[in-house]
């Protein structure tokens, strides 16, 4: 059976997998493929290669772009490269529970926020999810495909919002509530359970300057607690919804496949609907090479074949609820709409 089979009701696809496996190109291929079937598709990417961006005519400006594309079935293809800094600022400006512009400006001008907002761990993951939620809930698309950020591990993506949520959490900020510029609020709380020794310890470790900056920072973000919790909850609902499918992209490499097997078990346990695994960039041409004169070519070809044999022998250890596909290597010079469509058609079911 050729091509990836989606559930009929699927409205959101989330492509996960570790870095360097071709997730961005695969997301674009899926987008082109389903647009060709007549759907109105939006693909949200993080960091497309210059070649891919050029061939799809997309700009890294955080705006929506319609990709020039003729679909006999009447589909449309839209793309957007997520701009993290702007999305975070968009959230700060739009989600404040107070209308006071001074609060917004106070946060945007806070020194800790400025130094660290774009660099907080989890912030890219957070802005990706917020963008996804924004576009899915707009109801304008039949299918939205998210290419997840290049984090070391998918868990970082799924837990990113939690981390940001903890930062804006009511509990943390409230420690500083009664305090003015001094960090009295926090000290009081700790003093409830500790002794004056703790106070000394805290001073020794960080210094009063740090506590003061931190206090200002948490006070500045107070207004965002309520809306943030709503956002996080909505994002989570979207991630576990029946209309959402996770697709794991991985590479033809023993350690990556082991990683994928572990991840697929874990992620299903957590209640996310991981339906498919795509082993990407399989060099299908290798089997056609017979007795090459170059010893190095011979070694390489044999190596690719042993990787494929290794994969075949391990197919049984993937859960039966999971469809495993392979996809052939895509020529670099064919990373255009036509090439991506061909790539889509090249996805083959293995199990």
């Amino acid at each position: 059976m050729p091509m990836l089979q989606l559930n009929k009701n699927t409205k959101t696809i989330i492509c996960i997998g570790s870095g360097g496996v071709g997730k961005t190109t695969m997301s674009a291929s899926l987008a082109v493929g389903y647009a060709n079937q007549g759907k109105k598709v939006l693909v949200l990417t993080i960091d497309p290669s210059l070649r891919l961006a050029q061939s799809l005519g997309i700009k890294p400006d955080g705006e929506l772009h319609q990709v020039k594309f003729v679909s006999a079935a009447g589909g449309e293809l839209w793309s957007c490269v997520i701009d993290h800094k702007n999305t975070f600022e968009w959230f700060v400006r739009n989600a404040s529970s107070s209308d006071a512009a001074t609060d917004v400006e106070a946060l945007l001008k806070n020194r800790l926020y400025q130094q660290l907002s774009g660099r907080l761990s989890g912030s890219q993951e957070f802005t990706s999810l917020i963008s996804l939620y924004r576009f899915v809930s707009s109801g304008k698309y039949d299918l939205v495909i998210l290419d997840t950020p290049p984090s070391q591990h998918t868990w970082n993506f799924l837990r990113g919002p939690e981390k940001i949520s903890a930062l804006f959490n009511e509990g943390v900020a409230s420690w500083f509530r009664d305090s003015d510029t001094e960090s009295v609020g926090l000290f009081k709380k700790i003093l409830n359970v500790g002794t004056t020794q703790v106070l000394k310890a805290l001073e020794t470790l960080t210094g009063s300057h740090f506590m003061k900056e931190l206090s200002l920072f948490f006070k500045a973000i107070q207004k965002w607690q309520g809306p943030l919790e709503t956002y996080i909850m909505n994002c989570h609902r979207l991630l576990v919804a029946n209309e959402t499918e996770f697709i794991l992209v991985t590479a033809l490499d023993s350690s990556r496949i082991t990683e994928a097997q572990k991840l697929s078990r874990e992620i299903q346990k957590q209640g996310y609907r991981l339906t498919s695994v795509i082993i990407n960039r399989v060099p299908e041409w290798a089997s056609a090479v017979k007795q090459p004169k170059s010893a190095r070519v011979n070694d390489l070809v044999k190596y690719y074949q042993s990787l494929e044999n290794d994969l075949q022998s391990r197919l049984n250890s993937f859960k039966t609820s999971l469809k495993v596909y392979k996809c052939f290597e895509l020529r670099q010079n064919s990373e255009d709409v036509k090439g991506l469509q061909k790539n889509f058609e090249n996805i083959r079911l293995l199990s």
Binding site: G19, L112, P150, A166, V198, L205
Partner: protein, 285 residues
């Protein structure tokens, strides 16, 4: 005492962990005591090297080579225990739910804790370390820059007090070329090379650091090797050779030096590592 810290970075999927392993093995053959460590929450080395467990405390891997995994929490705990001296006081503070969440979310604290541990030996802060060199399988490009920037960012936001002093001193050791050596691993392909060049320039301009560069998984093919191949295979290998030549040309244009490691057609991890150690030893001398 630690005399040198090697930080390995590069785009996701280029082979950072494997390269870190090769570096650590190579230095361990130079009669140096080496600690190989990883910063990820989910260990890569555990499965890859077939270990029963991987811990903060260094474990023996082979002669002259220990392995460990650093989490920001472990690093911070060790540092605070060293300063506070009293375990019960540490517990009182750090196992308090309020301070626990605070540590989780305080911006930049995790990065500072990791780099604090990295530079703790020459700064003589924290328990003494017996290894001569550290090899750290570090974060991918973007995250890696955030890691390096944390001390100076924190120092700018909080110039005074113990926190300010610590970030200032960590920052200066990170920028000291006699102590910190950064290795960027890349594949000879458009995206990784573009990212590598950007990172290389950024490290130079922002930190005055000259990173070493390694191109991994090189095909070592020439177009004459491809004459007798079926069209599909020939096209694929040809594209590989073109990408490799393009990558070399890009690096040459900018006067960046690099070494090359070949793609080793070997599935067995141990054989793969020892083959690469041999190649690296030749390339490094």
């Amino acid at each position: 005492m630690v005399k040198k810290a090697h930080l390995v970075t590069g785009k996701g999927g280029v082979g950072k962990s494997l390269f870190s392993t090769v570096l650590a093995h190579y230095f361990s053959t130079q009669n140096q005591q080496i600690l190989l460590t990883e910063l990820t929450e989910h260990s890569f080395f555990k499965d890859y090297l077939g270990l029963n467990e991987i811990t903060y405390k260094p474990q023996h891997l082979k002669s002259n080579l220990d392995i460990s995994q650093w989490s920001p929490e472990d690093c911070l705990k060790e540092y605070c225990l060293h300063l506070l001296k009293i375990e019960s006081l540490y517990k009182l503070f750090f196992e308090n739910p309020v301070s626990k969440s605070l540590i989780q979310v305080a911006p930049g604290l995790h990065e500072l804790a990791l780099l604090g541990k990295l530079t703790s030996s020459p700064r003589q802060v924290g328990p003494p370390m017996r290894h001569d060199q550290l090899v750290v399988d570090s974060y991918a490009t973007g995250h890696f820059l955030s890691l390096l920037r944390a001390p100076s960012a924190l120092n700018e936001a909080i110039p005074f007090g113990p926190m300010g002093e610590q970030s200032k001193s960590i920052n200066s050791w990170i920028r000291n070329p006699d102590f910190t050596q950064i290795h960027i691993v890349s594949l000879a392909e458009e995206l990784p090379i573009t990212e590598t060049i950007e990172l290389f320039k950024q490290l130079k301009s922002e930190f005055n650091i000259n990173a070493s560069l390694c191109l991994n998984k090189m095909s070592e093919l020439q177009s004459s090797d491809l004459d007798d191949l079926p069209a599909e295979a020939r096209e694929s290998f040809k594209e590989t050779i073109e990408k490799e030549n393009w990558s070399r040309a890009e690096l040459k244009k900018l006067n960046i030096n690099w070494i090359e490691l070949p793609l080793i057609p070997e599935i067995d991890t141990n054989k793969l590592i020892s083959a690469l150690v041999k190649v690296y030893a030749n390339a490094a001398t």
